[in-house]
Amino acid sequence: VFLGSAAIVYHLFTVVTGALTAPSGPWVSMEGPTMRMPPQALVSIHDTAALPYLTPIKMTHNYHFASNRTAVQEAELEFILLDESGKEIKTVRLPEKNASGATRYWQALLARWSTDDQPLPPPPTPKLAAPGENLPEVTFWSPMPGAMNKLEKVTTNINDRRYREGGGMLLQPSALSMLMLRSYARHLARVHGAADVEAVRLHRNVVPQRLPGGQEAFILSEREIPEDLFGEVASYYRSVLK
């Protein structure tokens, strides 16, 4: 009984510390909405006493589910497969329109990763590169000239005008989302014998509860609902593999 009780107490202690050591927020702060880290003492206890046990039994989830955040974005991806000469071989859509329900579900899970954009830090003061060295680079979504609802992924140096003019409003695809995208593109290249893959993300904002600049607290109470409510945006990754 004593050993059993000790095992039960330890097991549930690790589960509880796992649930408590999750970032909280976003909270209102001077820097805008920010996430707060859990108490450091608890993190230390969790990392030393709980994680070595929870990792092999795969119970490391903190039960802060993504669907609790109500504005979960949705996206569809289009992969254009190219041969050595840059000629298009095939276009693959994710999720596929004619796939089974289960397949569409997994493909939608994969495509959802592409919505994981992260805010870009504000640009630093302009810098000169040291002799023989290049300026640091940044990657972000930049509006395409002449098209309001089209973005392209650009990688440029920190003195670029687009970065400076964008201020702190620019977004960049997260490292994890790019990792997922490249992995799926490699899979497509292996299956179809493509030399390169270009990707496009088709993304729609969630239906807002309240119209930006609207008169009412609830969108359904508004007199007029504009046609461009959803604002579909196409984001061009260009070449994913090269």
Binding site: A22, K58, Y63, N68, T70, E74, L179, S183, R186, F230
Partner: protein
């Protein structure tokens, strides 16, 4: 004046002893009272069916979903381990890592996994199939690209089934050697192991529900009672015409959204207060879980989370309550005849007493 402290010292600390014994007795009663394993068997059958419904649709896409040349390939695993913010989830182990890119091996592991889960669902050799099922669930949820909210819930079910069936009947008097080693045949009618496994599952489910409730309180849409709006109208399937058509019903919609959001919050935040209570509270427990299942499956489109939570909630129902439910069901027209016919057929085969009705749930250990 001097004698007072002496008298006080001589008195035994009555209240303290009573408190300690109460706590100790409560702890013992909660965790170590032998209980009917019916609840564990029901969780096993339902969890087995859930695992099968999740595994079988993967049949045509095993290489893509789990192979190291699939959607999330070997290079991606290496890159994910190097990410500064860490991988999405710890990539500790999976049977599929051993298969590499060998298609034959991947398919063999897949069909063997399905076979193991079928055996567990039927209650065959549970001491072996329950741990193997946990290995199956842990391996099939290892791919970060396919991470979804049902994964942790299925892992919880598989883990406590493993704990329960590893311990069930291990030290019980009168259990056969076949049962002790493999889990075949008849187990004990009441078991501490079944109680410990179910209690652990109950407490873990309560932690999950309460944590997700508190997490919701960090999000403004839940406070505003508008949380379900975005899920009800997904951007790729909703048209402006549909939104305009809803305008005459704005107040009714607002009322419905508020009630749905606050009911969800109330159910989750108060869960530990009534989840262990018998009687009419069972309707709140099972009914709430059922509504949650429908909501998460059809509105939020997370097919595994709802049924896993529902099965976790059924783990709170005690053996006596299952027995009472069984008696109630037998009164339904047709059910008693079916039970007698089934019981009669079994009687012919195994010379069981008339009326001893086996079902899928009680086959295996009882």
């Amino acid at each position: 004046v001097k004698s007072k402290p002496a008298i006080r010292e001589e008195l035994p600390p009555v209240e303290e002893a009573v408190e300690k014994s109460r706590f100790g007795a409560g702890w013992m009663r909660f965790w170590f009272t032998p209980a009917s394993p019916t609840g564990l068997h029901i969780v096993r059958v339902l969890a087995g069916l859930l695992f099968l419904s999740w595994l079988l649709p993967q049949a045509g896409y095993i290489d893509e979903l789990h192979g190291l040349n699939g959607w999330f390939d070997r290079q991606a695993f290496v890159e994910a381990a190097r990410l500064p913010e860490g991988a999405l989830k710890p990539m500790s182990w999976s049977v599929f890592y051993l298969c590499g890119t060998n298609t034959t091996l991947i398919h063999t592991v897949y069909w063997a996994s399905v076979f193991v889960v079928v055996l567990l669902t039927l209650g065959v050799a549970t001491r072996i199939t329950a741990p193997l099922t946990w290995v199956v669930v842990a391996s099939f949820t290892a791919n970060p690209a396919l991470d979804h909210e049902g994964d942790p819930m299925m892992l919880i079910l598989a883990f406590y089934l493993m704990v329960g069936y590893l311990l069930l009947g291990l030290n019980g008097a009168g259990t056969s050697w076949r049962h002790r080693i493999f889990g075949f045949g008849r187990g004990p009618s009441r078991s501490v192991a079944a109680n410990v496994a179910l209690r652990l599952l109950q407490v873990h489910v309560a932690i999950v529900v309460l944590t997700t409730g508190f997490h919701k309180l960090q999000i403004g849409d839940w406070w505003a009672g508008m949380a379900h709006w975005a899920a009800l109208y997904p951007p790729f399937e909703t048209t402006v015409a549909e939104i305009r058509a809803l305008q005459p019903h704005a107040q009714a919609m607002l009322f419905f959204l508020n009630v749905a959001a606050y009911s969800t919050l109330a159910w989750e935040l108060s869960f530990p207060l009534w989840a262990w209570r018998p009687g009419w509270w069972r309707i709140v427990l099972v009914g709430g879980a059922l509504v949650g299942w429908i909501g998460t499956a059809f509105i939020y489109r997370i097919p595994q989370f709802g049924p896993a939570l529902f099965i976790g909630c059924l783990a709170f129902i005690r053996g006596e309550e299952w027995a009472a439910l069984g008696r109630l069901l037998k009164r339904l027209p047709g059910v008693s005849e079916l039970a007698l016919r089934w019981g009669g057929a079994r009687q012919g085969e195994t010379n069981l007493k008339r009326g001893a009705v086996d079902s899928l749930v009680t086959v295996g250990q009882r």
